[in-house]
Amino acid sequence: MTTIRVVRLLLAIVLLGGGIFVGAGRINQLPPLGPFLDPANGVWSVARAANLPAQTDAVIAALGDSVHVVYDRRGVPHIRATTVDDCIRALGFVAARDRMFQMELQARATAGRLTEWIGARALDVDRQQRSIGLSWSARRDLAALDSSSETARLSRLYADGVNAWLATMEPKDVPIEYRFLGVVPEEWEPINSILTYKRLGYTLSYSVHDRWRHRVATLIGREATAALFPINSPIQEPIQPNGTDEPRFDYQPIPPPPERERGSSNEVVAWDHVRPDQILPPLPLAGLSSGGAAAASAADLWGGELGSNNWAVSPSRSATGSVLLSGDPHLNLSLPSIWYEVHLQVPGELDVYGVTFPGIPSVVIGFNRDVAWSATNTGADVLDFYWETLDHETAPRRYLFDGEWRELEHHVEYFRGRDGEQIAVDTLYYTHRGPVFFGDDGPLSMRWTVLEEAGSMEAFSGAARSTSVSEFESAMESFHAPAQNWIVGDRMGNIGIRSTGRFPIRPGGGEGTEIRDGTTSQSDWLGYWPLDEYPGSRNPEQGYLASANQQPIDPQVQGRYLGVDWETPWRAMRINDLLRNDSAVTVESMSRYQTDPGNEKANLFVPAFLDAANRRLSETPDEDLAEAARLLAEWDRRYTKDNERAVLFESALRLLTNRTWDELSSVGSGRRVATPSQTVLAALLQHPESPWWDQGHSDDVVETRDELLTTSLIDALHQVTDEYGPPEDGGWRWSGIRQTNIWHLLGFPALSASELPVQGGSGNLNPSSGPGTHGASWRMVVELGDRVQAWVTYPGGQSGNPVSDLYDNRIQQWVDGILDGVLFPDDPGDLADHDVLSELTLKPEGY
C-alpha cells in the first residue's frame, strides 16, 4: 500500500469514526446528528407536518363511534361526537397532535422529571418541584379517586386520545423540541392531566408570604410589618360591589420603623423574588444556542405582574340590550401558547367553545349556547407554614404533635438521567399537613389547598353544560383550587361573579400571616369557608361586575380573613371607572378596554411628583427639577405606544420606591427583602414627615416626602437621559422601551417572539412590566344575545410546530388589540368551504 493510500485510509477511519460518533451520540447539548439531520425522518421532516392535510383519518381504538373534527381557518378544531366519552378522547387526540411536546413538558416539569430529558442541569428545578409535593399529591389523589369519578374518567378518556395520536404519529409528526433534546414522546398517563392541573394551582396560588413576612419582621418588627403589608388593601374597589360608586381610600397610619442597630441583623434571604408566576419554571435547557442563556436569564426574572381581568355588563348598560362579558386572563406568555382553543360538541349533551390547557380534558374558559364565563385569580391565602419539631435533624422519622411523637410519611425520590441512570436520591418527609422543608430557621411543614384537590374537572364539566348563571355557579361549587373569581353571564340577562375555592378557616384570629406552631392541633385549619360567605354578586344595581385580582370583598362588609398582600387595585379602579362612565357598552368598547392605556397609578402618583416639585421650586430654583417637572406634566398619563413620558414616570417611581423602603434591605446583601404595595406608598404620601421617608444612610440629614419625590424625579431625568438620550430625540418612545417577550418554552430565541411593542405598562388593564414575559394570555368578548357571538385571540397560534402557519399567526393582532370573530356553528359540518382548513375523521378500530 502506498503512503498516500495509508494516509487516505487513516483519514477515512477517523472521519467515519467521528461521523458515527457525532451521528449516534450526544456531544454536549447537541442531539445525535445522524437522526437529527436525516432529511427523511429527522428534523427536516418537521416541515412536512407544518400544515394540516386537507383530509385525513385516524383510529382511536376505544372510540364507540366515529368522530368528525373540522379545523376552521384559524386552526380551531370543532369536534363533533355522539358521546361525551368519544368527544374527550378526540380532544386528547387533537391536543396531542398540535401540542404534544408542551403537554409532556408541563407534566414532566410538575412531576420533577426533567432530568430524564436533560440530565443534571435540571436537578435543582426537579428537586424544587418534588419538594413542594405536587407529584406526591397527584399520585395520592389519583389513588384515592373512585375510578368512576369524573376526574378519573375524563383523565383516562383523554389519555386514550393522546396515546392514539402517539400510536399513529409518523416520524414527521414528532415535534422539533424532542429532536433537539434527542428524546421521544412518552406514553401519556392519566395522572399527567392531574399534574398539569396542579401546575396551574402552583402558578396561581403558591405564595410563601408567611416566610418572607417572618423575615421582614426580623428586620422591622411585627407592628411595622403588619402596617407595610396590611391584610386589607388601603384602596378599596372590591369585586363584590360595596355600594359606593368610587374607590374608597382607606389609608391607615403607618407606625415608624423601629431603631435598627446597623450590623446586628442576620443576613436575610429575599423571598419575594421566588414567587412563582409562570406556568413553567425557567428551564435550564436554553444553552443550545448562544442567545439561550439570555433567554433563560430573562425568564428567571420574576418581576412581571401577574394579574387578570374580567368584567360583564347587564343588558341595562349594553348598547344591544344583551349581556356582554370580557375574559382577559394574564399569565406568563409562551410559545406555543398556554391555551388551546376548541369547540366540543355532542348533540343534545354538550356544545361548548373556549380554551383549555393542553393536557387538561376540559374547557376552562369559554361559552356555550347560553352562558359565558371567565376567571381571574383570587389570590386568597390558601397556604400556611408550620414550625415543626422533628426527632432528628437530617433523617427524622417522627414529629411532635400534641405532646406525642407521630410517624412522618416519607418517600424516597429517585432522579434519573437521560439514560435511566440514577443521578440523585432525596428523601421527602410529610406531616399530616403536607411536605416538610428544612430551612435555615428550622423545619417547616406546609399545608396548601392545591395539594388537597384532585382537579376540579367535575366543575368544568358542569360549567360546560350550564344554561344559566345559577346553574354555572352550582356547577362551580365543586371547584376548589386554585381559587378563582369566576364571572358569568347568560342569555337571560343575568350576570354574576363569585370568588370560588377552598378558603381555610384558621384558629385564633383567623389570619394566615405568620408561621404557626406545628406541635399542636390548635394551629390546624378548622375547615373551609361556607359557600354562602364567598365574596360574590349577582345582577347588582350598578349593572356591571368586574374583577382584577383586587381584594374581593370590602372588609367593612365582611371582616373574615381571606388573604393578604393583594394585587394593587389600579386595574380594578380603571375598569370600574370605564364601566361606570359607559352606559351603552358595545362589543367594540369591551375589546378596546382590554388594551386601554389609562392608568390609575399614574393618576395618583404623577400629581404627587408635580405638587412636590412645585412646592420645592417655589422655595428654591432648580433647573433640573423644573425641567423634569415640565416633561412629566406634558404627559397625559396614558401608556400609549408612542408616548414619550411614561419612561420618566416609571423611573421616578422606581427610585422613590427604592429610597422609601431602604429599611427593608437586608444588612448583608443590601437587597430588599420585600416591597410593600404601591398602595402603601400612596398611603405614606399622606404623611410628609413620616420617618419612613428618611434614608438611613444619611445620618445627618432627615429626608421628607417632598425631598424624596423631587430627588427621585431629578435622578430619573438624569437616568433616562443617560440611557435613552435627550427627551426630544425619540429615544423615550414607549414602544422602544416597554416590550413584550414571548419566549419559547425552552427559551430558544429563534422560536420566540420578542421585543413586541405593546400599549400598556405596569398597572394597566393590559399590564406589561419587568422582563415583559407576562400579559394577556387570552382575550375574549362574548355577546349573549339571541345567538351567542364571540371575539377572541391569544398571543400565539394553535400549532406547536414552529414552522406552521398557525404557530405565531395571532401575535400581531394580539399586539394590536384586535380580536377574531369566532365560528360557532350548530354543526361543524355546516362550515363553509372557505372556513375549513382541514378535516379529520377519528374511527374506532375495525370501523
Binding site: L15, D38, W44, V803
Partner: protein
C-alpha cells in the same frame, strides 16, 4: 471516466435517498461501504458514493420542500443551534458525503483483501 461517474452518481443518489428512508442515516455509511467494495477502485467509488450521498439527501430535502417550509425550518432550527440557516443545510449535505466517502474508502480497502489481485 467523468461520464461513468456521473451515471453512478445519478443512479446512486436515489439509492442513498432510499437507503436513508428505509434504514435512517445508517443507510449512508452502509451503502457507501458496499459501493466501495463493489466498484473497482479505478472508478473512484468512494468519491462517487460521497457525491451520490449528498445528492440523495438533497433529493430528500427537495421532496420535503415540496410539502413544507424547509427554508423557514432551516432558519429556525439553525437559530436554535446558534448558526445561520444555510449552515444547517450545508451540514445536512456534507455530513452524508463525509460518511459515504469514508465508508467507501474502507470498502475499497476491504476489496483489496476480498478480491484477487487481477480483478483490481
Amino acid at each position: 471516466m467523468a461520464r461513468r461517474m456521473m451515471l453512478q452518481i445519478v443512479f446512486l443518489g436515489p439509492a442513498f435517498a432510499l437507503a436513508t428512508a428505509l434504514l435512517g442515516w445508517w443507510g449512508v455509511p452502509v451503502l457507501g461501504c458496499l459501493w466501495g467494495v463493489y466498484e473497482k477502485p479505478i472508478h473512484r467509488p468512494s468519491l462517487a458514493a460521497s457525491l451520490a450521498a449528498g445528492l440523495g439527501w438533497l433529493l430528500l430535502l427537495a421532496w420535503t420542500a415540496f410539502s413544507g417550509p424547509v427554508l423557514l425550518l432551516s432558519e429556525r432550527a439553525a437559530g436554535v443551534m446558534g448558526v445561520p440557516g444555510a449552515t444547517l443545510i450545508a451540514l445536512t449535505l456534507l455530513y452524508p458525503m463525509t460518511l459515504a466517502w469514508s465508508a467507501g474508502v474502507l470498502g475499497e480497502t476491504s476489496r483489496l483483501y476480498l478480491q484477487p489481485k487481477d480483478a483490481l
